[in-house]
């Protein structure tokens, strides 16, 4: 058992109960983003974020540390999301949670994703104007590839390549910033 967990188990039950307000303040942004990244729309992310914290509060939570709590919140959120999708018969997810957790940690790390967004903005500014425009149209306005191609005066295939290259450059830039 690690020193951290030893410490956690000695905490008295009363002290170990989290204050909801503090818990929400610390982790709501992360949970909401996690749900959005999973594919939830904004309204569903709102609802499931709420449900995630309620689920936590229904049981006496022993807080080991913020990272462990964050990971636990993500798992609860993930399970709630899957349950909701299954009720709607829209998706069957089986062992996706671990892969998604790994992917989340790869990009967002141990914070709520704010650092990543700052880095992303910086990297985005280094792209060419055409690449920026293509990504803005694609991710900001949900434009189709055809619409992007028309806006940039290139072929559809060219638009696809441009966006792929731009994303690849962004990834490289982010990796170098780590």
């Amino acid at each position: 058992m690690s020193p951290e967990s030893k410490e956690a188990t000695t905490v008295s039950p009363n002290d170990a109960e989290l204050e909801l307000h503090e818990l929400v303040q610390l982790h709501q942004v992360m949970v909401w983003r996690y749900l959005r990244a999973l594919g939830a729309d904004a309204a569903l992310a709102d609802d499931l974020t709420q449900d995630t914290f309620l689920e936590i509060m229904r049981r006496p939570l022993e807080q080991f540390n913020e990272t462990a709590t964050a990971a636990y919140l993500r798992r609860v959120a993930h399970n709630l999301f899957i349950s909701r999708r299954r009720r709607e018969s829209r998706m069957t997810v089986t062992q996706h949670a671990e892969q998604f957790e790994t992917a989340w940690l790869r990009w967002a790390g141990f914070d709520s994703g704010n650092e990543l967004l700052d880095s992303l903005k910086d990297c985005f500014a280094r792209l060419t104007h055409r690449a920026q425009l293509a990504l803005r149209l694609r991710f900001g306005e949900d434009a189709s590839r055809q619409a992007i191609a028309t806006a940039l005066g290139i072929t559809e295939h060219g638009a696809k390549n441009l966006m792929q290259r731009a994303k690849s450059q962004l990834r490289e830039c982010l990796e170098n910033k780590k």
Partner: protein
Amino acid sequence: MSEAPEHESATEQVFDYFLKEMVSGQSPPDLSSRIATAWLREQAGLATPTERSAERSDSSQSSSTRLAHPQLVRARPLLAQQPVQAMPVPNDQTTTGEPIVATSPQSRHGTSLRRNVIATLLALCACGLLALLSWRLVEQDLQLAQRLFELVPSPSQNSPSNQAAAHPRTESSERMLAASGQPADASESASPQPAGLAQASETIDGQAQSFPLDSGLANNRSIPVVSAESTANIGDPPRLDSQQIVAQIDEHLANLWQGLSITPSKRLNHAERAQRISLVLTGQPAIDPDSDLEPLISQATNSLPFARKWADQFVALWLANSRLPEGDVRLQALKKHFASNIYDGRPWSAAPGELLGGTIAGGSSEQDAATSTFFSALAGDGNHRMVAAIGSSFLDVNLSCVRCHDASSTSPAIEQPASVRWPAQMAERQSAYWSLAAMLQGIDARTDEEGTRVAVDRQAELLAAGKPLTTYYDLLDGRLQVAEPGLPDGQAWQSMSAASGVPRQALAEWLSQSPAADAATVNQVWRMVFGQALVSHAPWHADSSREAQVQAQRGELQRLLAQQYRAHGHDLKQLVGWIVLSDALGRQATQPTRAQWLAASAEQLQQWRRAKENFATGAKPISSTADSSLEKTLLAVLKWREQPENGSVETTLAQPAPSPSSSAKPPRPSAGDVDQTETIHELAERHQLDFPAASDIALVEHLLASERLSWKNCVEHVAGLAPYRLRDTRFQALADELLRHHNGDARATLLDLLWAVRH
């Protein structure tokens, strides 16, 4: 199994989301007040998440008739010390403009009333059940006590036995316990429980585990430890010389054959035996087959071809599921490194330490290079390949099942003697798997700018930053559990002297010293010589008491060899030498002729198979790519299915039949059949002996009953039962093809797959 595409897709998905958020400027809302309100309302019994959906649809139908929020009168304090407060309820709305909670006080009151009535009724039922159960337990205790006293001599018969009644662990009670398979002394009571007891304790654990974090820790504490019996039997044995060891192997085999009424095939003559030994050891024919065997073995095991061949075999075993390309120079270097170790006669027990304990990135020694290659090949995607490889390579256990559930929960309960089960018992619990996975937290793999797959080690960094190396996993019932890093025997990793380093290095040290790793090495060497393991931990191999007995006898032999291997300083050359000198390799590799085979009765066929499975008919060295034989079997199954007359036959291969002597007997081949046809009919013939075991059917039914498992997952479960790692994509493709032949009948397909894995 094939996690890479899913992982890549998840990585892409997360990246795309952040890109979208940055470009669109849509930031997360502040939901603090909304959540606090919902919590207070829930505590007041006003709304539940499920009810909220219904309420929302009601309210959306008539927003004008929305009622004001009821007055809150009581709420659970968020902190124990915090006074209860009534909070004003803001009329929050979701981003879609819908109210979070909109309730009618009257309907809520009705709901609460109904809920209270139902809860009271349920409580009454539970009390009744508890009373009934308690009475049953009291009854059982009384019966047990009666039986105990019947076996213990009465005070009138023997006055000293008064003590026996007071202290049941006397000689007579020990006999009784021995007869019932229970350990007779306190040290043995620490050994893992039989299946039934394990199930009971699991239930108790389950009841105690009200909350994942707590229960996870509880679960961790209950990781089965290496039994005192197992370690005592492995440690400090008398060191025997080679002749004594070979004689003991032969004695064990002779007893095994005698017990099974097997007549072993004829002995090879000296020259033939020397040739076979040379081929097994070096892959090359003997230069002087007439020389004495012991010098020949000594010469062969000290040669470079021996070192190369055995290093190749071990590396192929360790990296069976490697993600490195075939021609990667690091693989060649790894083989060369271990060939050098074998050639120099370094203790083979150091191999896990070299593979796991060096520096992953930036090291310059040969050990660092070995560690780096090992992790580059297997790390990433949650490190499940790595955990599986550690299980199969160094502990000789198949950890595929316990990734998702306790092994006893799906595998049919099989009573096996402790001598056979002890290595596997370390990995029967899902918590043990995830503790092992937690030991590898912080290790990942990525592709660098040059397109080379490299491992990344952040364990030290995470520990220094105070980040926990915990992992989370789901139980079958959907509850979450947390696992702390822990060694396979349940010890804390800090207990190893490598604790000053990182968990990975502590694990490496533990594996290098573990008797389980010695037993695993024996089993692996035996498999490399004879084509099948000495002791199998696959669930179907002991689905009868006779099979269990056979496995127990083989387990004794494995233990003997493991003890001597340890006593001789983990000398791989000597271990291989003892095995190849044994009587099993000195027998002719006989197979029934075609005419014998066609004329044989079912009993004779079964006897032949039994003789082959128990090493009484010589040996056939296997190649390092063990999965190719399974692929061949599966292809043969597919060809069999393609024959029109077999497509709809219920009784072919592993399908359940009304009775073994049903009319659906496959056609015998004619004399002019080509070889391929013969193989297919050979399979069909074997089918006469292979009606699916109850354990197979139970396993398939269990897989199909699980709503959480997709078809792919079911196939992965079957693949995971193979004694070696399979190539994921190819096995999945063959399974899909078979499914099509079965017109989508998943049950029939899985039974066929199980059949193929068994053969």
